[in-house]
């Protein structure tokens, strides 16, 4: 049961968003720009960064909701997403995305964990300033979303297939102008 009274039946972040639409508006607009707007990082790559950080923060709802979206965009399956979460260096992801995931992992621990060497490595394999910026902000933003979801003890469906089934729909609707209750 959630720590506070939330509208019933809404999973994860949707409960607190329905409780407080004034803050939800800006949270959703931030997610829309970070994860869906035009960018040299694909939607799949950005959702993967979000999934990886949510996994490090042990947030079940976020890692499955965004993992579902990542596997939808990247046209892979959940075992591949799970492999990225457990050991991304062993996957066939590009050297650039691996360098960005390494930066995201450091941000999850704390901003000061990011080293000049990590930044240099990312640049060496082709990352731009904007890609580094967006990686750091996606990682930081999910340290917020994960804490919002778990800090209020929200409810989340435990069947991972539900997140996969809903991913295509979620990909179509985006993060703004969607119906919280559907």
């Amino acid at each position: 049961m959630a720590h506070i009274t939330l509208p019933e039946g809404l999973p994860g972040i949707r409960g607190p968003m329905a409780l407080r639409p004034e803050t939800a508006k800006h949270l959703n607009e931030l997610a829309e720009v970070l994860l869906r707007s035009d960018n040299s990082l694909t939607r799949g790559e950005r959702e993967l960064i979000a999934t990886f950080v949510s996994s490090l923060n042990d947030c079940f709802f976020c890692q499955n909701a965004h993992g579902g979206l990542a596997q939808h965009y990247l046209q892979c399956d959940m075992p591949y997403i799970d492999q990225v979460k457990s050991d991304f260096q062993s996957t066939n992801l590009s050297p650039k995305l691996k360098a960005l995931l390494s930066i995201a992992g450091s941000v999850q621990k704390g901003g000061k964990h990011v080293t000049p060497e990590q930044i240099e490595r990312a640049r060496d394999v082709g990352a731009t300033d904007l890609e580094i910026h967006d990686t750091v902000l996606i990682a930081a933003a999910f340290c917020m979303f994960n804490r919002y979801v778990d800090g209020l003890g929200t409810w989340a469906p435990q069947d991972r297939n539900i997140y996969i089934e809903r991913a295509k729909w979620r990909a179509d609707e985006g993060y703004v102008n969607f119906d919280l209750y559907k």
């Binding site: 720590h3 506070i4 009274t5 607190p16 409780l19 407080r20 004034e22 803050t23 800006h26 949270l27 607009e29 931030l30 720009v33 970070l34 707007s37 923060n57 042990d58 947030c59 930066i103 450091s106 941000v107 999850q108 704390g110 901003g111 000061k112 990011v114 000049p116 930044i119 300033d129 904007l130 580094i132 910026h133 967006d134 750091v136 902000l137 990682a139 930081a140 933003a141 340290c143 917020m144 979303f145 994960n146 804490r147 919002y148 979801v149 778990d150 800090g151 209020l152 003890g153």
Partner: protein, 183 residues
């Protein structure tokens, strides 16, 4: 020096949102609603929660700028800001605010660290659902801002007067997106 090519001489998050106003506008709008909008907690109490979380995340820029804002807003009770940041017992803090700061500290570690007993204690001390919601979201949001500011190695002023000035600006004008530097 910052990890990316942000405007020179501009401190902390201001340099980052000038680099990327598309995301910056939403970050500032969120801060304004969360710290100045409708809430059972006063702006001073909310700035104090922000400074407390930033201190725990070892983010000097956010700690000192929000502590300065809290001092301005607490006026004659400004000394309690230092008590909170330096983790010194302060009799001036209400039991309700103490128990909300405890919840904020748990959120800073990880959302799952917030336990039923923390919530029960806050309720016994008079906290309602909205107090708890706003505390959790402020603590979560500063767990983002702190990582954003330090993760990109943004400029952290060392002059205390620089923060005092930021505190006065934040206390009187709130949060509005800094405009790009003109060439």
């Amino acid at each position: 020096m910052a990890h990316i090519d942000v405007p020179g001489g501009v401190p902390g998050i201001r340099s980052l949102v000038m680099f990327r106003p598309e995301t910056g506008q939403h970050l500032y709008a969120l801060a304004q609603v969360l710290l100045r909008g409708d809430s059972p907690l006063t702006p001073a109490e909310r700035e104090l929660i922000a400074a407390h979380v930033s201190a725990r995340n070892n983010c000097t820029f956010c700690r000192d700028s929000h502590a300065a804002a809290a001092r301005e807003l607490f006026e004659e009770n400004r000394a309690l800001v230092d008590c909170v940041i330096h983790n010194v017992h302060s009799g001036a803090l209400s039991l309700k605010l103490k128990s909300l700061l405890n919840i904020a500290g748990k959120v800073q570690l990880n959302g799952k660290e917030v336990k039923q007993e923390d919530i029960d204690e806050a309720r016994r001390n008079g906290a309602a659902d909205r107090d708890i919601h706003d505390t959790v979201l402020i603590a979560a949001t500063f767990s983002m801002f702190n990582r954003y500011v330090d993760g990109l190695g943004s400029l952290t002023p060392t002059d205390p007067e620089a923060y005092a000035e930021m505190g006065r600006r934040l206390a009187t004008k709130g949060y509005s997106l800094p405009q790009p530097v003109k060439d």
